[in-house]
Symmetry: none
Subunit: 215 residues, 4 copies
DNA sequence: AATGAATGAGGATTCATTCAT
DNA sequence: GATGAATGAATCCTCATTCAT
């Protein structure tokens, strides 16, 4: 695989693939469809990504590497002094990144639902890494009494679920609830909601209850 | 499609298909693999389910028909007099059904993430129906002052998400959090958690805050 | 692979493949060409022989199994009491079998010239077996003073070469020497020639020399 | 095709191709494999040899041109006064040339077993030429009573077979007879053997019989 | 009810080659 | 002289399906 500076055709293939994968899934999409959509020859896909599987891995890798590059920027930001700052900043950054790359995010979230080798590898590398980061923050927050004595697993599952929900339930929201994820201010509202949850469930302070769902 | 009393081979095919779909997804599984796993001839799948797509639709239909048959039992149960009873009873029943049919639930939840015609149809029929039921209960609950003045969409999304989370995040829980969904008492703990959330966020009463994640 | 009683299509494929392989070699022939020649669908080749490689192995296996079934008939024939009888009877039988299956023989002889795994396997199984049989006969012949004290390797190589020459040099004989292998009495003349060589080079008797090439 | 002085890359390609052809045959080898083995770009093969077929023809042509250049040196050598000298000198020279270019020899001998246009062309040009040369010598030898009254075709076939046997049966000798063609003195022993055969079968003199295979 | 044979369409991939640089 | 990009055709194989039995 050529992984130098991306050229135009590579990006065209990438974009076309993502669009098709979003609708039909990886296995439901043929490289011919991708080639047609990308207006290129089928052989080019093998040329640039080695194989269909290589294209999948490339997209996955790209998603997670950018994901963690953003995370590391936050972790090294000296402004985040409290664990609260760090935690909220992380979630904000991740959600922003994901809202800006909806298709890719949705694609990745869906494919890892399968029980494939790739899915398992991603779990045991990337998600373990993510878990470790959040775990450390929670642990430190609890040590400094900044956070309540919460059950780690439940917080972690909630966060993970919160981070992927807008992309996993995009359809449900569009077609059933008729509230679009695409709406400009949806992202910020969604992030705000998280802050509320965070304050009520993690922070060690007497806070106002029952706010988030009330009008 | 033969809708009569299920015979042995039909069930064998169903079981084999579900198992394979769990690992490889619908598009990633060939009817040959299913036939091999079910120890039957390929032609039998077409014979019993008309086509591969027919098998998919059969599984979906079966899932949702049982799903709603359970729901209607609850709705017609005269014991559920308050909206609180009704709401909690519904969630309990649904979760129980789903925990008893993990593979099928997970399969359905995953396949409807695609942008196919079938997925959209399911959204606009089954999930609309589900939404209508929960919406009515919330509306009535708010009218009788049993519930707080919550934002419907947020409650609905939360419930929907809560109902599918254990199946969508099964992998994540197993391989990253190392807390297994298969554990005997996981289901009841998960249901209890919902009750807490329900009391804190929907019920119109002065309740104890910050309970759910604290030790 | 179906290896029950051969049906008509299987034989048609076999025949077509053999014809094409003879002209173009295994690697030079596509399964499409075979399918066209056999007037069947490409998928049938996979259906009956698993894969192109499977077809190759099938032809090879068939050649050698028939080959050795003939050999074993000779070995168990009680009429062959002397080693001379046995040796000559073997060569006669093999040559007859090969002359009756020219294409197959030529195909096999050509493919094993490659340095592939299959070729090496065939060497170390079938040809070792053949060598063992001839070696034993020579050894016994030498013990009983029926044969001269010849160098085994040279006799073995000569025999092997003699057995395959008409098929390997078929082209040369046709197009350069203009003496056709297809001529009715060529086979018997060729076999007679071997007898002469055998008498002059192996038999322990004062024989008339320089016969074979003189007019 | 570039016929100028061979540059380094051309030779690298040639060597790599020959090595791969030996193992996999011409049709079984892709130019990509050759390019990889020769550590050059695929396009270079087309550049230097026009096409894959061009490479084949180049190797064939090179083999036979060198082959006949050696032959003509022998034919013009005034020292070879008798037909016996000439005949034996020819065979010696050819065998030496071939033993020094084993891979090329083997490759050529194998490819001409196919029924392709190229193979037929080679038969009708190069091998006809060879045959003509040997025929003339035999004829003259018979005329001068130097040789016996042998059947031309049988002698010619024997000679042809003898000249290619070590290369065609290389595998058989290695893996079955376990006597290596690579052994230093094998070539000279092989040539000596031919001399014995020649004396016994062609020369018009009372010679000692039954020598060649006895210990 | 159940199966083996057979098919045409389409799957991913690799092929030899060309061309601009 | 040499290369990387790009291509269309062809590779083998698998797909879901049909049909006669």
């Amino acid at each position: 695989m050529n992984d130098g500076t991306k050229n135009e055709m590579m990006q065209r293939i990438e974009k076309a693939a993502l669009q098709l994968f979003t609708h039909q899934g990886f296995d439901g999409t043929s490289i011919r469809e991708i080639a047609t959509a990308a207006k290129c020859n089928v052989a080019n896909i093998s040329y640039y990504f080695d194989s269909k599987k290589g294209l999948l891995e490339y997209l996955m890798k790209q998603y997670f590497e950018t994901y963690f590059s953003y995370i590391h920027v936050v972790l090294q930001d000296e402004n985040n002094q409290t664990m609260t700052d760090l935690f909220l900043q992380l979630v904000d950054t991740i959600l922003h990144y994901q809202f800006e790359n909806r298709q890719l995010t949705r694609f990745v979230q869906r494919e890892i639902l399968l029980d494939t080798t790739l899915a398992r590898e991603i779990m045991t590398t990337y998600f373990m890494r993510e878990k470790y980061i959040f775990s450390s923050i929670i642990h430190e927050g609890k040590r400094t009494k900044e956070f309540q004595k919460v059950k780690d697993e439940e917080v972690l599952l909630y966060v993970r679920s919160y981070l992927s929900a807008p992309f996993i339930y995009e359809h449900y929201m569009n077609e059933v609830l008729h509230c679009s994820v695409w709406e400009k201010n949806y992202a910020s509202k969604y992030i705000q909601n998280f802050h509320q949850w965070f304050h009520r469930n993690l922070l060690n302070q007497v806070a106002v209850c029952k706010e988030n769902f009330s009008v």
